[in-house]
Amino acid sequence: MSLDPGAWVLLLALGLWTALDQAACLQILVSQPLVASWLAGWIAGDAASGLAVGVLLQGVWSRALPLGASPLPFLGPAAVVGGALAACAPGSRVGLSSVLVVPEAVPLAVLLWVSIAVGELGRPLLQRIYRQRGALIEMAVTGANEGRASRVRLAHGLGILPTGLLGLALVVAGLVAGAFLFRIVPDVHTDGRWVALPVLGVGVGQACSLSMKRRAWIWGAVAMAIGVVVAFT
């Protein structure tokens, strides 16, 4: 896996942006895998592979919802790692559609696992950051007691720092881990669609389960019928 220094800088900037988009500011969903992985793939030199992995991860994390402030995987940096590794994965590419391509089965499995692991590792670390902001709260309360709104805003703004640093650290860790694993995995050249399509399937099913709690069996039956009919024809 080779990335030039410019690509590293851009990937780190994207990791920072997506980390903040998810956990600190804007929340315009640049941190969602469909966008973050595509951008990371584009930066790393293969937008089509990055986008394909983004489609897969978007489904995987479709049920990752911050409902009632529940802990959420750190999707943004994880998606950046997934997209960049997809672009740098060894071996040839196979077409998922006329525009999307995926790496071979083993590198694809490795990069998806690394990406999921980065997201899951980010979950408790992000929660830890949320718990350890007592000093900022104290700073804000002191500022409020003095009637100084600027100190309240400063305390609020400083909260961005640990979130951004965690995002950067996770992107670096994920890319290094992925590059290492690409070197040691067995040299098997099988079709990546064997891994991509089951992941796509469970992802779509999970996304649909959000609005189909009681009637999931109806959707499941229709999906099965459509899948069989389309595959036959």
Binding site: G68, H189, L200
Partner: protein, 249 residues
């Protein structure tokens, strides 16, 4: 006193609302973000003791959906204005409004935006990405933010105009329309994506439908987390590829 909240003040609140989660804390939740946004109208309270009380009451713990925080911020700005012009009960109504509406707005916003619009836009974006590449993520971001940003930013102005009647938001026509679109749009778009996956010109197309059935059942019963389920699917895919796949050139 004739202090008033100007449109520029509301625009400042809307701007700071974009950074609402920057200092999210497990105990105080979004209180710093709320206080930082409301500090835009600190000019209503020129006396130090009044300003102190103003800042401290907005540092009270609070948690709501970031997209629907705008209307609440606008309504609180309106009540602050009334308090500053001599309405003695306005301050207690600010606290009451926060306590009463943070939960319902959070529930409505989470269902509408996180569990509704996001998967809907995600599936639409994935289908478009499948066919047209880069247009997928662009449509995804545009579709989500076409609703999200007007509510989050414009909601401050709307909330200021409505004041204590912002609960009307939960019965708004567009909210009902969005719920309807999500209820039917997500399953239908999901079926489209299953059909696209099953139309791939390779043997693994047979794995899409069974995997989708597994995903919807395990997901609807919250039996397995997304990452773990995907990990299992990856493993199954690897085993199948070892058994059936031919080497690619």
């Amino acid at each position: 006193m004739t202090a008033r909240v100007s449109r520029l003040d509301l625009a400042r609140i809307a701007f700071w609302n974009l950074f609402l989660q920057a200092s999210y804390h497990t105990g105080r939740r979004q209180s710093l973000g709320i206080a930082a946004a409301m500090a835009s109208i600190r000019g209503l309270w020129p006396k130090p003791e009044d300003r102190r009380a103003f800042l401290l009451r907005h540092l009270e713990p609070m948690n709501t959906n970031p997209a629907l925080a705008g209307p609440l911020l606008g309504a609180m700005a309106r009540l602050e204005e009334r308090a500053a012009t001599g309405d003695a009960e306005a301050v207690s109504r600010i606290t009451h409004l926060r306590r009463v509406l943070e939960g319902p707005l959070a529930a409505t916003g989470d269902a509408l935006f996180w569990a509704g619009l996001r998967p809907l836009a995600g599936l639409a974006g994935s289908i478009i990405a499948w066919q047209s590449g880069a247009w997928g993520p662009i449509v995804f971001v545009a579709l989500y933010n076409a609703v999200h940003l007007p509510v989050r930013l414009g909601g401050v102005f709307w909330g200021y105009a409505k004041a204590e009647r912002i609960h009307e938001l939960m019965r708004a026509r567009w909210v009902k329309g969005l719920r309807f679109a999500v209820r039917w749009g997500v399953p239908l778009l999901g079926l489209c994506l299953v059909a696209l996956g099953a139309s791939v010109a390779a043997l693994p197309r047979w794995t899409v439908a069974p995997a989708a059935v597994a995903g919807v059942f395990l997901g609807s019963r919250s039996l397995v987390r997304g990452g773990l389920l995907a990990g299992g699917a990856i493993m199954v895919g690897l085993i199948l590829s070892a058994l059936f796949a031919t080497n690619v050139p």
